[in-house]
């Protein structure tokens, strides 16, 4: 088991779902590197493919979906796309922790948290179950909970914020160093959200993790992530260091998203809605730029040619208009 933060290299990943209209890509040709020890945030709306991408990290895309192309190389593990059966099951949990949405009931309502913890330990062949419980209690205590009480509780006795922390504990207790958090704060209110984000940051630093946060809320990413990647229609349209992307967004979608957030100060009427609506698996364009229907910078070339991913230092953008403008200047 690797005791340090692993790096992850996703290369040319394509995930397709079988539909009556044939196999349609939910994620198409995505390349993304998670540097060891960083927090990366993926922002996208429903149907952007962000959850499918996250599941690919565990090679857990369920039928009718399948990984059609590409690789997910994790340090100390190898390419998980080729994993199957027992090898895959062991990798999950021990190397990769996954925290599911708090709102969705990912805990078993019939068992106490402690019993579920023991199940987890047994299924991963942990010899020292007492040690596991001790570790869990410490982690929960670290997150501001009474560990013994929480382990004795059923999920209905815990609030949303507490369940979320239990989820984080279960993802980390087997000493995973790569952690994926799927919508960690959806359905939590503001104060609880701020609290959870602080915990994510602190635990990340203390345990030396590589963390991936999936969310629809740019504010969440702004608070925790070092790097930000924006997904739209199954494509990564922009990525870069969080502060740089928020400070000077390049892709028209990123710009539109930021402009669509009402803020507490400044002229509130500067907030503008993005026209149109996000594409679904069926309506996403087969060729050309996936965002063109809603884009204010649309050109003829956008209809036919997929914009290539252009790197400029640490910033990466896939947009014809941005590329043209930069060549001109």
């Amino acid at each position: 088991m690797a005791d340090q933060a692993p790096g992850v290299r996703i290369d040319g990943l394509t995930v397709v779902y079988k539909t009556p209209a044939g196999e349609l890509p939910a994620v198409r040709g995505i390349s993304l590197t998670l540097e060891p020890g960083t927090i990366t945030g993926i922002v996208g709306e429903s149907g952007s493919g962000k959850s499918t991408l996250a599941l690919s990290l565990l090679n857990a895309v369920q039928p009718p979906g399948r990984i059609a192309a590409g690789s997910v190389e994790i340090d100390g593990l190898g390419d998980v796309v080729g994993f199957a059966g027992e090898q895959l099951r062991k990798a999950r949990g021990a190397h990769i922790g996954y925290v599911f949405q708090a709102a969705q009931n990912s805990l078993n309502p019939l068992k106490t948290v402690g019993k579920q913890l023991l199940d987890l330990g047994r299924s991963h062949g942990v010899a020292d179950l007492r040690g596991l419980v001790r570790e869990a209690r410490e982690l929960l205590g670290r997150m501001g909970l009474d560990g013994a009480r929480v382990l004795d509780s059923h999920q209905h006795e815990l609030s949303g914020g507490m369940r979320q922390r239990v989820g984080i504990m279960l993802a980390l207790v087997l000493n995973a160093h790569l952690v994926v958090l799927d919508e960690p704060t959806t359905a939590l209110d503001m104060i609880t959200q701020a609290n959870i984000l602080k915990i994510v940051r602190e635990v990340h630093a203390e345990r030396g993790l590589t963390t991936l946060v999936i969310t629809h809320d740019i504010g969440v990413v702004a608070e925790v992530a070092d790097r930000l990647a924006v997904m739209y229609g199954g494509r990564l349209v922009e990525q870069g260091p969080t502060r740089e992307v928020l400070g000077s967004p390049r892709h028209p979608y990123t710009r539109g998203l930021i402009r669509a957030i009402p803020r507490l100060v400044g002229d509130i009427d500067e907030a503008r809605a993005l026209p149109g609506r996000p594409p679904t698996l069926v309506t996403v364009p087969k060729e050309g730029c996936v965002f063109r229907e809603r884009c204010e910078l649309r050109m003829d070339v956008c209809d036919t040619v997929d914009p290539s991913v252009v790197a400029d230092g640490s910033r990466i953008v896939a947009c014809h208009a941005v590329t043209v403008k930069e060549h001109a200047s």
């Binding site: 809320d217 702004a222 993005l274």
Partner: protein, 336 residues
């Protein structure tokens, strides 16, 4: 158009052998929403904001206090006679996916309340069709393409527009929007907010906005009243812009401090307030309800409960013995 005084509501939970547990949801709340005005209730989950919204929409009873709609007190009236008054107030729920009947087309959904009214007022079928198309246009949907569709054929944003259109079929004077955009895609949220704002401006419909996000309340109307609710008590009340600029209650300050900072565009506030502990079920009932979590609690805070009032030097009403302005919200980098 609607005001309430001293509204209380207590929920009784089925308890164990030792008896029932009583949970006070509202502890004597006063409110007032004028014709064409806007108001927002903010607070954590469980603070009572949704209960108050449901009482205002006539979907929930209250234990004591009085609600007047256009000057008519509601409690002396029988349920049957209250209904026409509460019909002026329509609720828009959080989840547009469960608010529409999946087996009905949009036309059928809109036709039902319209047919009822047509029957009452002796109007024709032609009026129903005309009005159905009209309300859809009001919410920015094309009647030609939408009327024959089923809810599953529409996006979340479009469904929420249909829900609003359905509320408009009865010519309401007020809309109660309970977290109306929280389940909608981020790029579409502002469109729904803009629609509510537009309905307020064009049709003179009052809007009551229930949310935990103050910034959206500001978008609907900075001049509207903001009610900060904590454990069933209004702890700060005043115009949205005044409170955002000068929050004095530590609870309001914690809510505002918790809003994510867009690093790169904004700098965090200078004096963020973080509650000492999280909200639990069995918190003290004596003195100030927020005292246990308040980083600034002082003498007397746990003895007697401060009531909502005006004090010198503070433009808005508040319920704190030690009101002090703190700069908690993020500032745009362009202004620094």
């Amino acid at each position: 158009m609607i005001n309430g005084t001293g509204i209380t509501k207590t929920f009784k939970q089925r308890g164990n052998v030792l008896g029932r547990r009583e949970v006070p949801a509202l502890r004597g709340v006063d409110f007032e929403i004028g014709k064409g005005g806007s108001a927002s209730f903010i607070g954590e989950s469980g603070c009572g904001k949704t209960t108050l919204g449901r009482i205002i929409a006539g979907l929930e009873t209250y234990d004591s206090g009085e609600i007047e709609i256009d000057g008519t007190p509601m409690s002396p009236l029988k349920l049957k006679h209250r209904q026409p008054h509460f019909r002026k107030i329509q609720m828009i729920h959080q989840d547009p996916y469960s608010a529409l009947n999946p087996t009905r087309t949009i036309y059928q959904t809109l036709q039902a309340p319209l047919a009822l009214r047509a029957g009452q007022t002796g109007r024709s079928k032609g009026w129903i069709d005309e009005r159905a198309a009209e309300v859809l246009s009001l919410v920015g949907l094309d009647p030609g393409t939408v009327l024959s569709r089923y809810p599953h054929q529409l996006s979340g944003g479009m469904r929420q527009r249909v829900v609003i259109a359905r509320a408009l079929t009865v010519d309401p004077e007020m809309l109660v929007a309970d977290e109306a955009v929280s389940m909608i895609d981020v790029s579409l949220r502002l469109g729904i907010l803009a629609l509510l704002k537009d309905l307020r401006e064009r049709l003179g419909v009052s809007v009551l906005f229930i949310t935990h996000d103050v910034a959206t309340a500001r978008y609907i109307g900075g001049d509207g009243e903001l009610y900060v609710i904590y454990r069933g008590q209004v702890v700060e009340r005043g115009p949205v812009d005044t409170i955002i600029a000068n929050p004095v209650h530590p609870y309001t300050q914690s809510l505002l401090s918790a809003i994510p900072v867009l690093h790169g565009l904004e700098l965090p506030g200078e004096e963020p307030v973080v509650p000492l502990e999280s909200l639990t079920e069995n918190q003290s009932e004596s003195g100030c309800l927020f005292a246990a979590r308040c980083p600034f609690r002082g003498d007397g805070c746990t003895d007697e409960r401060p009531l909502l009032r005006v004090t010198e030097g503070v433009p808005q009403e508040h319920a704190c013995y030690y009101p002090q302005r703190r700069s908690v919200i993020a500032r745009p980098m362009s202004e620094v």
